[in-house]
Symmetry: C2
């Protein structure tokens, strides 16, 4: 049906539609928007895509995304060495940094334990985290587990707390509860259950 | 804040965030998704972007997007010459073609009359439509106006019906009313007003 469109337009629609969250209709709209931009902008966009992964590595210390051996956070001597915040993906670091509430270091697991997807602890950077904790103690005093509040996230937390228990490091995990701006009426049962369980002293 | 991300990642996030409908957060997610795709896919995507507008022209007859002088629809001798469906943008043709309900030709206006945006009738292809109608009569019998149901769309329809009135061509416009699957309860006043006005015999 889309054969009424020239081939290169259809090709680019297909490319955009491969991106999760962009449906075929949105892909069409995006491509027709791009048809109106000038050629030099398209050239820039295209070459940005092609060079996206150039020099991109994982930080050898925390596995954050970096274009150096060590990422900007691990390199920053102003940041506290007392806490490591353990996250699933590098994008989680961006979100936490935006809060400006944490000035420690991070550790990127590279995912969560998920037997259905064939991801066991060995596929993640838990071994390296264990090593890191042993090396950085006693300066390092706390691991903050900040995995997503999913079954897999909880299972991964559980695995980490068991595996690293021997190091004696204090381990906490970020709170579950009602999101700010959320409504009790619309909250799902699990969220409400956790919010009740982990209630804190009022006032 | 995003300075914790390598430069080429930030650049590409900016490029994606320029696209209408893609916010900074979605742009981040898209780029992190793309970081996981292999280099050859990124190369293809990038060069598709760069070559998007190569050989892309407007059909000299109907102003549809094409890589020839004449678009595939105008070229198709199996299509009826009795009707021309007038649309704002080439993307509207894609949507109407999907219904498989129309086998005439199209005419792409290139927008709508919008004095606030500095778009007058001269910026559109109304003059060419007028010429086309005169040339294609008497084979051509009907103009179907399929602009968007907005104030500008209605104003453009009005302008066309006045301007082309002298040709004696029959002019219709697509129906306004409740969208299929929509609910009376949630319909806005204007839509309900039009739905009442243009009610048809039941049963």
């Amino acid at each position: 049906m889309e054969s009424i469109l020239p081939k290169q337009i259809r090709t680019l629609i297909t490319e955009f539609a491969k991106i999760p969250g962009i449906g075929p209709k949105s892909a069409e709209r995006i491509v027709f928007f791009l048809l109106k931009t000038n050629q030099s902008d398209l050239d820039t966009f295209g070459s940005s895509l092609q060079s996206l992964k150039q020099n991109i590595k994982r930080c050898t210390n925390c596995f954050n995304i970096t274009d150096n051996d060590i990422c900007v956070i691990c390199e920053d001597t102003n940041r506290s060495a007392a806490q490591i915040c353990v996250v699933e993906e590098a994008l989680d670091i961006v979100a936490i940094e935006k809060t400006r509430q944490f000035d420690g270091r991070y550790h990127v697991l590279g995912g969560v334990i998920s037997p259905l997807d064939g991801i066991g602890p060995e596929e993640l950077t838990i071994h390296q985290l264990d090593k890191r904790v042993r090396n950085e103690q006693p300066q390092l005093r706390e691991l903050i587990l900040a995995t997503n509040p999913s079954l897999e996230g909880e299972a991964t937390n559980m695995y980490i707390t068991k595996k690293l228990g021997a190091t004696g490091i204090e381990m906490t995990r970020i709170a579950r509860g009602l999101p700010v701006g959320g409504e009790v009426e619309y909250a799902d049962e699990m969220t409400l259950t956790r919010a009740l369980e982990h209630r804190v002293k009022a006032g």
